[in-house]
């Protein structure tokens, strides 16, 4: 089944593409030369909540994926091989729980390419919290039973957004090493391609539970990102704190460089520059907006030792914005393009590593997911 999307394919396939998933459909920003003008199109799939978007460029041409859900008609996985001009939904459900699992797919939270050397492998993180793997380029997915059958699973508690598996990281040097994160179960790792899993949250303090300093699992991890230079180095935004691991997630150490800014959703690593990452902290878990009306992206270039505020081009007055876990991303350029969307429908972008920003779109529905990529010349 092929569904024609809301805009014609551009003949120009160079430049940058930014997918903006909102609560009312998918919007797309295209820039032919990564210059001044981004063209907005959409909504595609109007009325559907698009929590997951993915741009997979491992095979050369970019393949796009969306995971959306209709309030009435349930979740749908779609893919496009022509930059969103047309979208395909497989006749047989590509992504659903198998017989015997006693569960039904509620929402797709994450669509992640597998290792570079296996371009047909993809992963999907869903609600209720589960991991799926595809070996045919996203046409069909199988439940990763090792995680689904984990003895902790029945004790996992949902975060505010639901019991969701929202992060999938494949180790760049060993495709059998997987790291996933669940709200509010924490980080789990596998060293055998997903057959067996272990909780990996040592050092992450759970301030919302008694005795929260030494819990094996139950952490409300919001997002994890891997450093571009050292694959064992990870950055983590927790419900109440920011953390770093230097040993692949075995242990975590709190980063304290942004005074008083513990809460937030996304964390983004620079795509090519070692020790460089970005945060967008929010004020307290009760308010969950940019602090004091100032929209500030924070950047570290020394792996979290120090953080510098980036404000050029971002609103610094009466800006009470919320940026969710998958609504901040980077593209593959160097200097990096950075893009984030807000719950109030703005999309901001930077094409100079975050030194300066400008608004690319406004008045959109609440933004849930943003993904960006450079397109081949």
């Amino acid at each position: 089944m092929t569904i024609t999307a809301a805009f014609e394919r551009s003949r120009d396939t160079t430049g940058a593409i930014v997918l903006v998933g909102t609560t009312k459909g998918l919007f797309t920003l295209r820039c032919a030369d990564r210059g001044e003008r981004f063209e907005l199109t959409g909504p595609t799939f109007p009325g559907e909540e698009v929590y997951a978007t993915c741009i997979d460029s491992r095979s050369g041409a970019s393949r796009l994926f969306t995971g959306s859900v209709s309030n009435h008609w349930g979740p749908v996985l779609r893919r496009s091989d022509d930059l969103g001009a047309t979208w395909t939904e497989d006749e047989q459900a590509a992504l659903c729980f198998p017989d015997g699992a006693d569960a039904a797919l509620a929402r797709i939270w994450q669509l992640a390419p597998g290792p570079d050397e296996e371009p047909d492998v993809m992963y999907a993180g869903v609600e209720p919290a589960a991991l799926f793997r595809s070996e045919d380029g996203g046409r069909s997915f199988s439940l990763v039973r090792g995680l689904w059958d984990h003895p902790h699973r029945t004790q996992w508690q949902p975060g505010g957004g639901g019991l969701c598996l929202h992060t999938v990281l494949v180790h760049p040097d060993d495709p059998d090493r997987l790291l996933i994160a669940i709200s509010a179960a924490g980080v789990y790792r596998s060293d055998d391609g997903g057959t067996s899993w272990r909780a990996s949250n040592r050092g992450i303090v759970v301030e919302f539970l008694p005795d929260g300093e030494d819990l094996e699992f139950g952490q409300c991890v919001h997002k994890v990102a891997r450093d571009a230079g050292d694959p064992e180095r990870l950055y983590l935004q927790h419900h109440g704190g920011i953390y770093r691991s230097d040993d692949g997630g075995e242990a975590w150490t709190a980063m304290t460089g942004i005074a008083g800014m513990d809460f937030g959703f996304p964390v983004v690593a620079h795509p090519s520059r070692p020790s460089t990452a970005y945060l967008l902290p929010l004020e307290s878990d009760e308010f969950r907006c940019t602090p004091d009306g100032h929209c500030i992206v924070w950047r570290t270039t020394d792996a979290g030792g120090t953080w510098a505020p980036l404000t050029a081009g971002l609103p610094q007055r009466d800006a009470h914005l919320t940026v969710l876990r998958d609504a901040f991303t980077t593209d593959g350029y160097d200097p990096a393009g950075l893009y984030f969307g807000t719950r109030t429908g703005e999309v901001y972008g930077s094409t100079d590593d975050g030194d300066s920003w400008r608004i690319l779109a406004e008045h959109l529905p609440p933004v849930m997911s943003v993904r960006a990529a450079s397109l081949a010349d």
């Binding site: 309030n71 009435h72 008609w73 349930g74 497989d90 459900a93 729980f97 039904a104 797919l105």
Partner: protein
């Protein structure tokens, strides 16, 4: 027995714009045909359409209403509600959302 299933506008793209699809159903041993059997037949003929109506556990999605002629099946026997020859199954989205 063939049963007509009437679709809302939101689902017609899946079946090339059709407002009604005919579903061929094998009746049970007691010659009854139920809503569940019609949806099973729909799953065989149009799987992408059926999964908009039911999840993979076979449960009707919570914001989808099914009517046998003018009766909401939730007010009768749910998916076990019988459909008689000549009756029509209508799929209607509930008034909900945000």
């Amino acid at each position: 027995m063939d049963v007509r299933v009437r679709l809302p506008a939101q689902l017609r793209d899946i079946v090339a714009g059709a407002a009604v699809v005919e579903v061929t159903v094998d009746s049970g041993p007691d010659c009854t045909t139920t809503v569940a059997m019609v949806l099973d037949g729909l799953a065989a003929q149009h799987p992408a359409l059926e999964r908009r109506i039911r999840d993979e556990q076979g449960r009707t999605r919570p914001h989808v209403n099914l009517f046998v002629d003018s009766d909401n099946v939730r007010d009768r026997d749910g998916s076990a509600t019988p459909i008689l020859a000549g009756e029509e199954l209508s799929v209607i989205p509930a008034v909900s959302g945000g």
